[in-house]
Amino acid sequence: MKNREIFSKKDVVIVSIILVGLIGWALILQHSQTAAKAVIMVHSKVYKIVNLNKNETFKIKWKGKYLMTVQVKDGAIRAKDSTCKNKICVHTGWISKDGQSIVCVPNHIIIYTEGAKAASYDLITTQ
């Protein structure tokens, strides 16, 4: 049984390059714009589109079965409670930036934010 090195200089260099590249990728993808609405999809269908500026708490039900409680507050949305086992969706916490998502694979639910807020001033007046 021939044994190979655990790691050499080469490995350290390759793995460091991969790590730096990934951190760069994550930084580029940093979401910055505030989202205006959130789309909730359950079992591949659009279940509800919510306006993030309206505070509300509601339950997601699918074929009469309770799946998740969603809370909207001050422009952010979260999964407050879910029937799934690992609760990854609940631990994701609040999301409020454009292009973020909360995923619950066991319940087939994805909540993603969409649409940056329009600028609060009129572009024409600044010309």
């Binding site: 655990i6 790691f7 490995d11 793995v15 790590l19 990934l22 990728w25 086992k85 995923v103 087939h108």
Partner: protein, 165 residues
């Protein structure tokens, strides 16, 4: 290696892998991202790389996923399918990289497997929830994969050095 020796070695690897799969959740991950795990049970697959052919590796990874999910109660759940497809394709990827790239060490193969595993998991997850938005998680998951993959590669490499088959 005789067949009976092979069966006993792989049987033991399946048992150790399944047990670690259940108990690894007791070791907290340093970065608190939802769903982040160490994946210590995959050490047995990296460990088996140098002396396995592809059939035995696949048998090992499938048996480990089936028994581990039966014990932890996620058998045939959507997350089970994410996990098993990720493990199978990551195992094939590590097998190929181990056979082709002779000059890099165990850490590289382990990290490569972890990266592949997460790409496949996110892809299968996207099919389940029917949205590509889930790919926003991928860069963060891959950073964690580099960390856990390196640690698992070191563990497997040290085992290979110290355990005499």
């Amino acid at each position: 290696m005789t067949l009976s020796k092979k069966i006993s070695i792989y049987g033991m690897l399946v048992a150790v892998g399944s047990a670690v799969y259940v108990f690894e959740s007791f070791v907290p991950f340093p970065i608190p991202l939802p769903g982040a795990r160490w994946g210590f049970s995959n050490v047995v697959i990296v460990y088996a790389l140098p002396f396995s052919n592809v059939e035995w590796l696949l048998a090992l990874v499938i048996a480990k996923a089936l028994i581990g999910s039966l014990v932890s109660g996620r058998f045939f759940s959507p997350t089970f399918f994410m996990g098993i497809s990720g493990s199978i394709i990551a195992t094939l990827a590590m097998f190929v990289s181990y056979k082709l790239l002779k000059k890099v060490g165990m850490i590289f193969h382990s990290v490569f497997g972890a990266l592949t595993n997460n790409v496949v998991q996110v892809f299968v997850g996207a099919q389940i929830v029917a949205s590509w938005m889930i790919f926003g998680y991928l860069p963060y998951m891959e950073i964690l994969a580099v960390i856990s993959g390196s640690v698992n590669g070191v563990i497997a490499g040290m085992l290979l050095k110290r355990v005499k088959g």
